[in-house]
């Protein structure tokens, strides 16, 4: 994408100041609005005046009811949609398009159906610039890491949902992006697989310590995974509240832990009103 739409109304003094003060901010979203213009039908204001900062190696959850624009915000950060109103900066530079510093994982896996598991992961490695042998080794390492050894030559149509998502995650991790954007990645999985995947993601993150922005509508998932939770309002979305979510998560039965339960309740109260609003709007 060219610079045509990346540069907008310049930097506001506020954000520059806050960035200078908070030197560890990796992603700065400043007063972003987004209008969605479908080719047929009327325009929709998806996001309104969204501001958020994400620090390096943080795990941030974007939590909100369906249709609140959280995925749209994710796509804007990823550079898949042009930022026209407001600014988004990653490492100080405005987002000008998709890039290998921001990897994305989708809800419906987005695997190349005509490629095997191995080829899918190798695709992510193509642009990294390694030698053939090195690429194969790395791909195999990631296949093993996500627990898909033995399925390297299977096609996605032969895999279960959980395995497909693991392939997608491996593919995104393979080219080592600094930032991981995840759009309700476990939404298409059954409940058991989902909780297993949540555990695995947490352990992968703790090992690799990337910045993760995780979109979800599931409060428990957000509380389980994230350092900070940004609660979004119903459409047009803006950040309703940002809560710190760091507490001791070492309890193996975390879901029964009182701190956990209280956190979930607290946040659910915030989300509930928005969810009701969203329900009222939908047909």
């Amino acid at each position: 994408m060219g610079d045509d739409h990346g540069a907008t109304a310049g930097w506001r003094p506020q954000s520059v100041l806050s960035m200078a003060m908070n030197g560890a901010a990796q992603i700065v979203i400043n007063r972003v609005s987004h209008v969605y213009r479908p080719p047929r039908g009327r325009e929709v204001l998806a996001l309104q005046d969204v501001s958020l900062e994400v620090r390096r190696r943080e795990f941030v959850a974007l939590l909100g009811p369906s249709g609140c624009g959280k995925s749209t915000l994710l796509y804007l950060i990823g550079g898949f949609l042009p930022t026209v109103d407001g600014t988004i900066a990653v490492e100080g530079r405005p987002v000008a398009g998709p890039g290998p510093d921001r990897g994305i994982v989708f809800q419906h896996f987005a695997l190349f159906p005509w490629k095997t598991v191995r080829s899918n992961i190798l695709y992510g490695l193509e642009k990294v610039g390694l030698e053939r042998a090195e690429r194969e080794k790395r791909a195999q390492a990631f296949i093993d890491m996500v627990g898909l050894s033995g399925f390297e030559d299977s096609y996605p149509s032969q895999l279960s949902g959980g395995m497909k998502q693991r392939t997608a995650i491996a593919r995104t991790l393979a080219f080592d992006p600094n930032i991981l954007l995840m759009d309700e990645p476990f939404g298409a999985l059954d409940a058991q697989t989902r909780s297993l995947m949540q555990e695995e993601l947490l352990s992968i993150w703790q090992r690799s310590r990337k910045t993760v922005i995780f979109v979800t509508h599931d409060v428990q998932e957000a509380v389980y995974l994230a350092d900070r939770i940004a609660v979004m309002s119903a459409r047009p979305g803006h950040i309703k509240a940002v809560l710190d979510n760091r507490f001791d998560k070492s309890d193996p039965h975390i879901h029964k832990n009182q701190v956990f339960i209280d956190k979930v309740d607290e946040i659910w109260e915030l989300v509930k009103t928005e969810a009701i609003k969203a329900q009222g709007e939908r047909r």
Binding site: G2, Y36, P38, G41, R42, L45, P82, E281, R283
Partner: protein, 133 residues
């Protein structure tokens, strides 16, 4: 606030791709693309007319579009355009109708037979029987 669209419509892939190529400048661009459709039609018509009249080819090879249209009109008014059109349409539509009815009936019959013959897959049974006929 204007009433918002309720369905979270996924963006058409072609439009996404197009947007990645050249971000639209809103309504002006859309008007532009619409006009382009007419440009090609008009250009084609003009090209035909000009090329035919240029003398590069004889009227036998490519008569001018205006002459062709004139001839259509004169055939319609003075000639037997209507008669020939009617005959052709009759043959085409009758054949089509028979084929449609027979085809639907045949397809349903094959499906029932193949459903009973649970061995072969329905599609391969279809193909072989259809090919045989």
């Amino acid at each position: 606030m204007a009433r918002v669209d309720l369905a979270r419509a996924a963006e058409d892939p072609a439009d996404t791709i197009a947007r990645l190529m050249a971000p639209p400048a809103r309504w002006r661009d859309r008007l532009g693309w619409g006009a382009l459709r007419w440009v090609s039609v008009v250009a084609l018509i003009a090209a035909w007319e000009l090329f035919a009249r240029s003398g590069a080819v004889t009227p036998f090879v490519l008569p001018a579009l205006s002459d062709v249209l004139l001839r259509i009109w004169s055939d319609a008014v003075f000639g037997d355009l209507w008669l020939n059109t009617a005959v052709t349409l009759y043959r085409a539509l009758t054949g089509f109708l028979i084929a449609t009815v027979a085809g639907i009936a045949l397809g349903m019959a094959i499906h029932r037979v193949a459903a009973i013959r649970c061995r072969a897959s329905v599609r391969s049974a279809n193909t072989s029987i259809c090919m045989a006929l």
